[in-house]
């Protein structure tokens, strides 16, 4: 049962609170953690809120986007430089939830949620992780699959701005809006003379965490960017995924349709 919520006003205070409260969980937007608290199924006795630690805002400089981990998804929708992400953000929960849910928090929600992490994987993003004395840079896929050590905080995520028109996104859910992922596909594809020069694909809904579709990337890289080639490469996704059954779809169904949605995301048909 919850005994304390610390509400630090700076990153240093947040680290101090984490060392004072050794079993504390980090609370960002609360959209995934507070339901657990409300249901009484929590296994922690304290929370450290990151709402007022000053980790908000988006900065674009020299083609690199840096986003404070406590920035809400709704705040990203307002960023002109991130207009290419609007369709992806629109596919995550509802505007009300996006007014609360944060970029950092989205890395740690359980699948089949956390589509923004799939976008960040596609964008080749890294996370800045602070332990109070030093900071390290970690790939997003490592953070979402391995989590953090107790006492660590993701302070920022950053990624290079993709070429105009190179970011692709498709999501299959049970409803058009506000649905969990059956399969989420985010990708950055750059081509020259009809051939794929750079491809980076993140998948949501099809494994324990958002994952990189490394086999699909390998199969597509250097090849022609047409339906036959993309369809053949997309089939390789079965090597990258490990889907689960849940209330939204079976593991079998997810594995069956993942290549279809990869194709749809990449070539729009």
């Amino acid at each position: 049962m919850l005994q304390a919520i610390a509400t630090p006003g700076s990153l240093a205070e947040a680290h101090a609170a984490l060392s004072r409260l050794p079993d504390a969980r980090l609370l960002a937007g609360g959209t995934a953690l507070v339901p657990v608290l409300n249901y009484g199924t929590d296994d922690f006795t304290s929370l450290v809120s990151l709402r007022h630690v000053g980790l908000t805002g988006v900065n674009v400089k020299d083609g690199v986007v840096t986003i404070g981990a406590a920035t809400t998804l709704a705040e990203l929708e307002d960023e002109r430089a991130l207009a290419f992400l609007r369709a992806a953000l629109d596919a995550i929960a509802s505007p009300t939830i996006r007014n609360m849910a944060t970029v950092g928090g989205n890395l740690f929600v359980k699948q089949p949620y956390g589509d923004f992490a799939a976008c960040l994987i596609a964008l080749g993003a890294s996370a800045m992780v602070s332990n109070g004395t030093t900071a390290r840079v970690e790939a997003i896929e490592t953070v979402v699959s391995s989590g953090l050590k107790q006492g660590e905080i993701v302070t920022h995520v950053s990624f290079p701005l993709p070429e105009a028109g190179s970011f692709k996104f498709a999501k299959a859910g049970r409803k058009a809006l506000n649905a969990a992922a059956i399969v989420t596909v985010a990708a950055v594809v750059e081509t020259a003379a009809g051939r794929v020069t750079r491809v980076s694909i993140g998948l949501g809904g099809v494994a324990k965490s958002a994952v990189r579709a490394a086999s699909v990337e390998k199969a597509l890289s250097g090849n022609s960017f047409d339906r036959v080639s993309v369809e053949r490469a997309a089939k390789e996704a079965t090597r990258d995924i490990d889907p689960s059954d849940d209330a939204y779809a079976s593991a079998w169904y997810r594995a069956r349709v993942a290549p279809v949605h990869i194709r749809r995301a990449l070539i729009g048909e």
């Binding site: 919850l2 005994q3 304390a4 919520i5 509400t7 609370l27 937007g29 609360g30 959209t31 507070v34 339901p35 608290l37 409300n38 249901y39 304290s46 929370l47 809120s49 709402r51 007022h52 709704a74 629109d90 929960a93 509802s94 505007p95 009300t96 939830i97 007014n99 609360m100 809006l177 506000n178």
Partner: protein
């Protein structure tokens, strides 16, 4: 367990309250402040019936431990309602038959207020998105979407007559 004092501006008036750790905004509004117009539904952010405005943005009050929003400006359905008569959004819902059992209505109206504060002239698509976090099990949504668009027109008309 250490209780703490939290200060919030609720419907324009600063209020202080003593809360246990993890007390959510919906609990404070209903149990401590007597503002029972905000409904408590699923307690997990899925139904939207507890939607209020926090610093002008529509949020689900069941997901907000009040200690984490110290100093915030909260507006509920009671604060939206004028001393006399109804707010244009309420009029639009009433006259458009956009409520049946009424349990979702205050959340729908506050989600609409959040939309119209940002976007005074929403498209039908904008209206659908704005209430996509709010569940209604009676109406089938069409009347609510119509009411959101009607509310936008009423608020624009009210602003024009104020300006004139």
């Amino acid at each position: 367990m250490k209780h703490s004092v939290v200060s919030l501006t609720i419907n324009g008036t600063e209020r202080q309250m003593l809360v246990a750790p993890g007390t959510t905004l919906v609990e404070v509004l209903r149990e401590n402040q007597g503002l029972a117009g905000t409904r408590r539904g699923c307690d997990q952010g899925a139904c939207g019936t507890c939607t209020v405005l926090v610093d002008g943005k529509a949020m689900m009050s069941c997901l907000l431990p009040v200690e984490t929003i110290e100093g915030a400006r909260v507006e509920t359905i009671e604060g939206l309602t004028p001393m006399q008569g109804l707010h244009p959004i309420q009029e639009a819902f009433l006259e458009g038959f956009a409520t049946q059992c009424g349990f979702c209505t205050s959340g729908m109206i506050m989600a609409t207020a959040g939309l119209l504060a940002r976007n005074p002239n929403p498209s039908r698509d904008d209206a659908v998105r704005a209430i996509s976090g709010n569940i209604c099990r009676c109406t089938g949504y069409e009347a609510i979407i119509d009411a959101v668009l009607d509310a936008a027109k009423r608020m624009q008309a009210a602003q024009r007559s104020e300006a004139a």
